[in-house]
Amino acid sequence: MQLKKMLQAGEQGDLYRKQSSHTTVQFANNRLKKINSGETNREVLRLIKNGRIGIGENTKPNNREYLSKMARETLDYGPRVDFAFPAQTRLKKPEIWDEELVNLPLEELIQTAQDFINKATQYHPDIQAEVSIQKEKNFFELENSAGFSSSFRQSQVKVLFALRLIEGKNLLVNYSFPQRTHWRDIDWENDCENLLREIDWGRTNVPLRSGNYPVLFIPETLADILHPVEACLNGQAVVRGLSPWENRLGEQVFSSEFSLSNQGILDRGPASKPFDREGVACSSFPLIEKGRLKNYVLDLETAHKLDLSPTGTGGENGPDFNNLVMEPGNNSFSEMLESIDEGLLIAGTMGAWAGNPYGGQVSGNISLGYKIKNGRIEGRVKDAMFSLNIFQAFKERISAIGSEQKWADNMLLPPVLINPVNISIKG
């Protein structure tokens, strides 16, 4: 790269480039629908001068001069910053490149999706499946005026499975979207079976009265209710005084069963990488250890403002987690299910993100929920909403944590049983 040539007197800067190419195979309504491919080459220039930062971004080839001009134009009015770009350090390189994936022929992507759909339609001929498989090659490069210059490549496979079954006015939708760096880390067989099992449970609707119940969250829905925890750990929220965990490092915030860490250099982690968007080395560190608040998630700016060290979690728009890992417990899933006399399993939520995350209140629609009676799934509960306060839930209401972790997006999570959770039902 040629950052030096782009800087004028008195300017500090960093130049970030992401080059990507992808091929996507898409099945809609059980049929091969589209094959897409694309290439992008995006570069972002940040300039700092007289304590202000300006940003320019560009995807047009041979347009660096204009890129500098755009960044420079915003310098006069841009935000005030006080941080310095990091120098070169030793970097650990996690395993995030899969030669098999990048060389995988198109035919195999198509066949894999087709096998999945065959399995779903064998279960019920009216099932409409949507499957998309995207394989991606990414190349990241960063250079700054403090001497940092490094790059890495990453492969990714992003899958969407969605199954829809309509019987009368009863519409049942279930989906999952695994995302991994290695082709063989996608568990096609198991994912298909899980989705079909949940579809099967959902074909019978059963009534449930509003009230407080023990609720089993699977990793995918636990991820939904962890969003306020992520929001409170984010250094930007801490700096802005939004997070209730400001000035509380070292304090007990959750039950001692609850441990959560950021894992930046985990081999084959979907969000693992050697360095973050700003050139800080990625690492693994605890966020909440046995219920105690240990670290925030920081970028250069928030670390500087809080007088802490950056954590290798700088993103394009402020601090951003690498992989979020919650420590498993020692209960098998069936043990957890069997322990419930009357309760709910929540397999899908909708709208759980709305509201104020820093207050910890999460309420959402249960798009896919099942009544548990005497330790067994009885059927689907429709038109229900759940509501809980995560500060209370993770402090006093964890009944059990499962032993089997599963990836949901960039989070590796166990199932968790929370008791009680408020459920309101229409009617």
Binding site: A28, N29, L32, K34, I35, N36, S37, G38, E39, T40, N41, R42, I55, G56, E57, N58, T59, K60, P61, N63, Y66, L67, M70, A71, E73, T74, D76, Y77, G78, P79, L106, D126, Q128, R164, I166, K169, L171, S210, R240, L242, N317, G348, M350, G351, W353, A354, G355, N356, Y358, G359, S363, G364, N365, K382, D383, M385, S387, N422, S424, K426
Partner: protein
């Protein structure tokens, strides 16, 4: 550009082929709390080629315009691969070749306003919000303008240049009492007028005041209520809950969904009319041509409580023996067009707000929409704020008003429609699959719905 694109098309072996090339220049400014948060300028440049062979579509996107023929061949190879798996023939609804150039008729061109003036205007709003009430703890101000040169050519012989502009902003206030946090905002948007960003002094002060006042409002008690939706909330409902179901690419291959959305199916009262229009000039989502070069129109979806239309691309229109409606849209060159909304509206009805209130013993007035989600059948929407309705009158304010329900039942439960129609241009955008945010707008009067579930601790 025209020659380059048409030369390439002449090499195509596809049954149908189109090329789009776009160059978008973006200005983005945000404030958070006392400080400016981000100021950014961007160039988003690129193109794409779409090829249809037999039954298969191929699509290739790129930033570099070199080796275009190679890219065309790749798209064709993808299309042929699909066609080998499911041999057949996809037809597109016929379209006359169009040669046209469309320029934005600006009331005020955002490119003629300096960065300095934009930053100062936003800073002024930021200060007004911060000073409006001692309980205001933070602000969230976002502004963007985008100018796009859009070139389109297809193998039917069309070549269109279209200038597109999108301007939007959100002026938000956050209040806190140490325990709870509340939010309210003023939002604006336009496709031809920077003036949409001006003149919000009184409105931002009022929004900040509302956010602060909400702090002392109790959380609404969960349960089933008669609900009046204000135009913003009703707009959110019609967009999320019914608009998405009307997108024909979802309907034509799913016989069950087709049954639910069949022309002639009755939803809602006989005075319910819903349309989606690309011709409400100046409003977000409105433009002369969609991303397949089809002229836009005003498309009725429900007329007299009966499904009368869907939102079509050329492909879906051919499949459903309908006319293309100009709803094939893509967020940018990296994506192929899919069936999307433009400005989606519930038409005005006969009632005054007082008439809607009368007869409600216990109800909720849901005001403003923070956001919503739907999975086709179920929806969840969160209002910015709420007010209880008691004995036919507006009563105390309430917060955390989240509405949920079944789309079809909710449409059937609409029993009154106001006469106070407005179009709302919020700065947000619409998401479908991986394509988000797409500029859209919504219009509605107040509507009243029976038996809506409101979440919250019961």
């Amino acid at each position: 550009m025209q020659l380059k694109m048409q030369d390439l098309l002449s090499l195509s072996k596809s049954n149908y082929c189109d090329i789009r090339i776009e160059e978008t220049e973006v200005t983005f400014i945000s404030f958070r709390g006392r400080e400016i948060e981000k100021m950014e300028r961007k160039i988003q440049f690129g193109g794409c080629i779409r090829s249809l062979i037999g039954n298969g579509w191929g699509f290739v996107s790129f930033n570099h315009l070199d080796d275009l023929e190679k890219k065309l061949r790749l798209a064709e190879e993808q299309a042929s691969t699909i066609n080998r798996v499911k041999n057949g023939s996809t037809t597109l609804a016929p379209a006359e070749p169009i040669e046209d150039e469309v320029f934005t008729k600006y009331l005020e061109d955002p490119r003629k306003i300096t960065l300095k003036e934009k930053a100062e205007l936003l800073e002024h709003y930021n200060q007004l919000i911060l000073k409006a009430d001692p309980r205001i703890t933070s602000t969230r101000i976002v502004y963007f303008d985008k100018h796009t040169n859009w070139y389109f050519a297809n193998s039917d012989g069309s070549f269109i240049y279209q200038e597109k502009t999108d301007i939007g902003g959100n002026l938000g206030a956050t209040a806190s009492d140490g325990q709870d946090r509340t939010y309210d905002a003023v939002s604006f948007g336009s496709t031809n007028d920077f003036g949409t960003a001006r003149g919000h002094d009184e409105a931002v002060i009022a929004a900040a005041q509302r956010a602060a006042d909400q702090l002392t409002a109790p959380t609404v008690k969960g349960g089933e209520y008669t609900v009046i939706l204000d135009p913003e909330m009703a707009g959110l409902f019609v967009h999320e809950a019914f608009g998405h179901l009307s997108e024909a690419d979802e309907i034509y291959e799913d016989k069950n969904l087709l049954k639910l959305m069949q022309l002639g199916t009755r939803y809602g009262p006989s005075f319910l009319n819903i349309y989606d229009s690309g011709r409400e000039w100046g409003n977000r989502g409105c433009m002369q041509y969609d991303d397949e070069g089809t002229p836009t129109e005003k498309t009725y979806l429900i007329k007299g409580g009966e499904v009368v239309g869907h939102l079509h691309s050329r492909e879906s229109a051919a499949k459903m023996e309908a006319r293309p409606t100009g709803n094939a849209r893509a967020i940018n060159y990296r994506f192929p067009p899919i069936c999307r909304m433009r400005s989606t509206c519930i038409e005005a009805g006969p009632d005054t707000f007082e008439e809607m209130l009368s007869g409600i013993d216990l109800g909720v007035y849901a005001i403003g929409g923070i956001g919503g989600e739907t999975n086709g059948e179920l929806f969840t929407f969160t209002a910015t704020r709420g007010q209880m309705i008691r004995n036919g009158r507006l009563a105390e304010p309430v917060k955390n008003v989240t509405l949920t329900g079944n789309v079809f039942h909710t449409l059937d439960n609409i029993d009154r429609i106001g006469k106070d129609f407005v179009i709302l241009n919020n700065a947000g955008g619409c998401g479908k699959f991986e394509q988000s945010p797409l500029p859209t707008s919504e219009g509605s009067p107040h509507i009243r719905v029976q038996n809506v579930v409101i979440g919250g601790e019961s």
